[in-house]
Amino acid sequence: MESLPITIQLFSLIGTLIFMAFIARLIVRGKLREEYSFIWIVCAIILIVFSAWRDGLTKISVLLGVFYPPSLIFLAAIFAIICFLVHLSVVNSKLQNSIKELTHEVAMLKKEVEDLETPDKFVPETKKHSNLT
């Protein structure tokens, strides 16, 4: 590990900081809701930690009994990505449900407005009967 050049460490640190600044900018501009930014900030912090702490990955790998340290990165990254994708699917389903409810309400309201604007256009059978009684 002593032979690892300092350049790549600098690159990864700078890259992570830029990423974090980008996330922060999205939040400030209101393009990313805080609850979704949380996971990205955590990711950035983890990246920063491992950029600075050079032997960290090897040490954790040894601790967990992982023979080839980079495979630990893939395992962790893929697991995190899958979790986040499931989360997004849940959010998406919720949104779709909300859209359905809203569409129903809007259609009903459109009907109400139209009925108020043109009261004599169409008299439902139910109304006719209630007028008689």
């Binding site: 809007v106 009903m108 459109k110 169409f122």
Partner: protein
């Protein structure tokens, strides 16, 4: 019999060529049998002139601002029926597959309180349009699935020609399946212990528009409906 108020819900997606005939047929049945009946056309965000045609017709209409598919479209109609206090809701497709003469057959068991849900079946008396071979295999599969889950035999589980009483309207007002609702809804009704009844009706080949299911989508259809049915079963079994 005439005191029950009926709402006929006609879901429409790009049915400009057939919707007028459907509404007029319903009107004809209504005057002939003296029913207290309103027709509600639900336009599922059609891209053709369906809405313009519907406006000229003697019927109520809902215009969905977003395309929801048949399930969401029908639920809008059922919600309307629920809120306006209708006693019976009937689905009649806007493509002319369901001839209005069948309406009386569908309504009779509900008026006589023999059933909560009446399904018009094209297979009880093998007459009229019998659907394609592949589709019949699918329908047979759903029949088997329904027997397995709710121990009830529905011969034509994909039929959309259905009548609901007030009790059922209250249930579908709260939840109605989304994409391909018909087979899934049967399991839903079975688990709510509703009385299902099938009556023989004639069906015709669609007069206009295209089916909501093309051949390529049929595999997805089978998968989606099986999943939906199983999840409805798991969700409602506890009730």
């Amino acid at each position: 019999m005439k005191s029950l108020r009926v709402l006929v819900v006609v879901p429409c997606y790009n049915e400009q060529s057939s919707v007028a005939a459907v509404v007029n047929d319903i009107h004809w049945v209504k005057t002939r049998f003296g029913l207290t009946l309103d027709t509600l056309v639900v336009n599922d965000c059609s891209t053709d002139n369906t809405m313009a045609v519907v406006r000229t017709l003697d019927c109520l209409h809902l215009d969905l601002p977003v395309n929801l598919g048949i399930g969401g479209c029908m639920q809008a109609g059922y919600k309307y029926a629920y809120r306006k206090g209708y006693d019976v809701a009937v689905q009649v497709d806007g493509d002319g597959q369901h001839p209005a003469e069948g309406l009386i057959k569908l309504l009779k068991p509900i008026f006589e309180d023999q059933a909560d849900v009446v399904i018009g079946s094209r297979f009880l008396e093998r007459q009229g349009f019998q659907s394609s071979f592949v589709r019949r295999i699918g329908i047979r599969y759903f029949r088997w699935l329904n027997q397995l889950l709710i121990h009830k035999t529905v011969h034509d589980s994909t039929s959309g020609f259905r009548a609901f009483n007030r009790k059922t309207i209250e249930i579908v007002n709260a939840y109605y399946p989304d994409e391909y609702p018909e087979p899934e809804a049967i399991v839903q009704f079975g688990l709510h212990n509703l009385r299902l009844l099938e009556v023989p009706v004639l069906m015709e080949e669609r007069q206009g528009g295209t089916s909501s299911i093309t051949f390529i989508q049929s595999i997805y259809y089978l998968f989606k409906v099986t999943m939906g049915t199983l999840f409805v079963y798991i969700r409602l079994r506890k009730i």
